[in-house]
């Protein structure tokens, strides 16, 4: 005998205790007597902590004072933020000459503008934008920050950077207003849409050359005064070291990871030993080696400045960690993906660059960002070998005569700064994960 259900069962809405706030509170916080007691106890502890911090940090705190004595006169139980505020410039810029600080600000602004198109969905050619940042920005920023005489090579690179930046901005505007790539936009403006590809390319090359000439002539007209790297410090120095570290450790890590998986024994052994050596030594040791041992092996009179040595050490150290992260990501890619790529004739590098790496990097985002956060925090170690990064600056506040002994407030301020930086990185990585996995249930 057949059993048949004649009508389709209609959908009903979920019971209220599943969806309402009251239902949620009841289920999660007040489901039993014990649970209710626990909730109340926790709320009390939270209240004690928050109110204590509030009284110390805001209600009783001193924000304006000339020295620590005045802070005490104002309140004995509150924080003395006046010292931090007084030192704010030093915390951010170190001992960089005060009248030159605009150069750092402009450098930062330039970076933000340069990277901005990466977050705009209407702008085309994002890979190129990213590549120009990595290739050209260091030159123009390096000159802005250190200044002095421009050599011929520097002049070329600065002119190129200016052109690259200008093209990037024009491309952004073309993208935002017309949803077009810059090249298509220019060709359209000149009415050459139907011209053969070669003519179009020549027009674009000519324009680029003209722009380069103009930029070269313009940059010859100005120089900025030299600032020794010993004057760099504070958050600025921290961001320079960790920024370069972040930008170079990922490509370095990818190369080392590929080397470790190479079929060529010599390359594999080299990469493995390199990775294992650097990974088994603490960063502080690497930093000491870079600054004290390295010069011993160099020829007489060869002086590399300490900052460059530190940056090289940070890059090598983090590239080795990154290599292991990348290797883990590569192992998550099934063999079928390599075979699929091979059957359409892609060679090793194209398979890696177009098929394997994009997928592997997506899997690795949480780990990569984790490494970046670690790198940012680890750079505080450079204060031990005598660079005045942000931690060095915060700690020297307590040695400044008017603020002598002021330890707590600067360090808390530093903690808040680091928290903001690291937390936004981790938030951004979450956002990136969600965005990249959208529409791809796999």
């Amino acid at each position: 005998m057949a059993i048949i259900k004649a009508e389709k069962t209609p959908d009903r809405s979920a019971p209220l205790f599943e969806t309402s706030v009251i239902g949620w509170l009841h289920k999660n916080l007040f489901s039993s007597v014990f649970n209710t007691l626990l909730t109340i106890l926790m709320l009390y502890i939270v209240y004690l902590t928050v109110s204590g911090v509030f009284v110390w940090g805001f209600a009783d705190a001193t924000f304006v004072a000339e020295n620590r004595r005045e802070c005490y006169d104002n309140s004995l139980t509150g924080a003395c933020w006046a010292g931090v505020i007084h030192w704010l410039d030093n915390i951010f810029y170190g001992r960089y000459p005060r009248d030159q600080i605009w150069r750092i600000n402009y450098g930062a602004l330039l970076l933000v503008l340069w990277m901005a198109p990466l977050w705009m969905s209407r702008v085309k050619g994002k890979v190129l934008v990213g590549a120009t940042v990595v290739v050209f920005y260091p030159f123009i920023a390096g000159y802005l920050f250190s200044g002095g005489d421009k050599g011929f090579f520097m002049q070329l690179m600065i002119a190129s950077s200016i052109v690259a930046f200008a093209i990037n901005m024009a491309n952004m505007i073309a993208g935002l207003t017309k949803s077009l790539g810059l090249n298509a936009f220019i060709i359209q403006m000149l009415g050459q849409t139907n011209a053969p590809d070669k003519t179009q390319r020549n027009i674009l090359l000519l324009l680029t050359a003209l722009a380069f000439g103009a930029a070269y002539l313009w940059q010859m007209g100005w120089t900025v005064e030299g600032v020794s790297w010993t004057k760099w410090g504070g958050l600025f120095l921290t961001l320079v070291i960790s920024g370069i570290g972040i930008a170079s450790s990922l490509p370095g890590g990818i190369i080392l990871a590929l080397g470790r998986r190479s079929k060529l024994t010599v390359i594999r052994v080299l990469c493995v030993s390199f990775i294992e050596v650097f990974r088994s030594v603490p960063l502080i040791t690497v930093l000491f080696m870079a600054t004290t041992m390295f010069p011993l092996f160099m020829p007489e009179g060869f002086v590399l400045n300490k900052l460059v040595q530190v940056i090289i050490a940070v890059i090598l150290f983090n590239a080795c960690y990154m290599a292991e992260t990348v290797r883990a990501g590569l192992q998550a890619i099934p063999r079928g993906q390599y075979e699929g790529a091979h059957t359409i004739g892609l060679g090793y590098w194209k398979t890696m660059g177009l098929v394997i790496m994009p997928q592997a990097l997506k899997h690795m985002i949480p780990n990569i960002v984790g490494s970046f956060i670690g790198l940012l925090k680890d750079t505080t170690l450079v204060s031990i070998i005598g660079l005045f990064d942000i931690l060095g600056m915060l700690r020297s506040i307590s040695k400044d005569v008017p603020w002598i002994g002021l330890h707590k407030e600067p360090l808390i301020f530093g903690a808040i700064l680091f928290f903001i930086l690291c937390f936004s990185m981790s938030k951004y990585s979450r956002h990136l994960e969600v965005k990249l996995s959208a529409g791809k249930q796999h």
């Binding site: 079928g336 075979e339 091979h342 059957t343 359409i344 004739g345 892609l346 194209k350 177009l354 997928q359």
Partner: protein, 258 residues
């Protein structure tokens, strides 16, 4: 799973030109002898179905022809080029030989269209517009042009497999290899994939298909090859092969799956 095709036996278009030649080919996985003294000649336009129990080496055979696996002894000559250690040759062979896998192996981070134009643009150096045109033509032939902007993960298995076939065809290959293309599919989707393959067979493409779909074999095959434990045990026209198998192993195999 037997899928009886309604069209009946397709007319064959075999030329006398030799497309693939395998001579005394041997392959080992470690000390395990997978393929033993394989001799096989495939003519242009010929359609071959390879069947046999699992572990008989049928997948390994076609993977060797595409140089995805290395063979240790003997020769494989594809389209006049001998497979060996020469990487340039390998890349060339792979562009001439399309391959469809059991698990599709589409690239999950790209849309269907991007999957299809990747090879033509980066290997064949086609312009993007031309590549898109070709890709859309093949998507139309496998009857899913409206899915071009979806990601593989959003499609059914049958649709993904048709995309995989289209992706290989976009490279304009001379030979198509199929490695159990319907084994990972739900029963409802097998037919849509087989239909596409039958249509492809009608265009005169040289095909080697590893499959358990005996109905499909009867419809399109010019020759059926039965493999067991690394040997080619029996090969014959499909009518003879199914009606009148000679070898004991073949008889046993056919009695178990039919």
């Amino acid at each position: 799973m037997i899928n009886e095709q309604t069209q009946g036996q397709l007319a064959s278009a075999i030329s006398s030109e030799v497309m693939i030649e395998v001579n005394k080919m041997n392959k080992w996985y470690g000390s395990f002898h997978v393929l033993k003294d394989i001799d096989l000649t495939v003519h242009t336009g010929e359609r071959i179905v390879v069947c046999g129990p699992s572990g008989s080496g049928k997948s390994t055979l076609i993977r060797c022809i595409n140089a995805l696996e290395e063979h240790q002894e003997g020769d494989i000559i594809v389209d006049g080029i001998k497979l060996g250690k020469n990487l340039k040759n390998l890349d060339h062979i792979r562009t001439e030989v399309g391959m469809v896998f059991q698990n599709f192996n589409l690239f999950p981070h790209m849309t269907i269209l991007e999957n299809l134009i990747l090879g033509p643009i980066w290997v064949r150096k086609m312009s993007k517009a031309d590549a898109i045109e070709t890709a859309m033509m093949y998507l139309e032939r496998v009857k899913i042009p409206e899915q071009a902007d979806k990601y593989p993960g959003q499609m059914s298995g049958g649709q993904q497999q048709r995309v995989a076939i289209a992706r290989s065809l976009c490279m304009n290959p001379k030979i198509m290899l199929f490695d159990e293309p319907t084994s990972a599919l739900d029963p409802e989707m097998i037919k849509e994939v087989l239909d596409v393959m039958v249509e492809l067979a009608g265009t005169g493409m040289t095909m080697i298909v590893v499959t358990h779909e005996m109905g499909f074999a009867k419809t399109i095959a010019d020759r059926v090859i039965f493999m067991d434990e690394g040997d080619i045990v029996e090969q014959n026209k499909p009518s003879e092969f199914f009606e009148n198998p000679q070898h004991e192993r073949t008889k046993l195999f056919l009695s178990q799956i039919l």
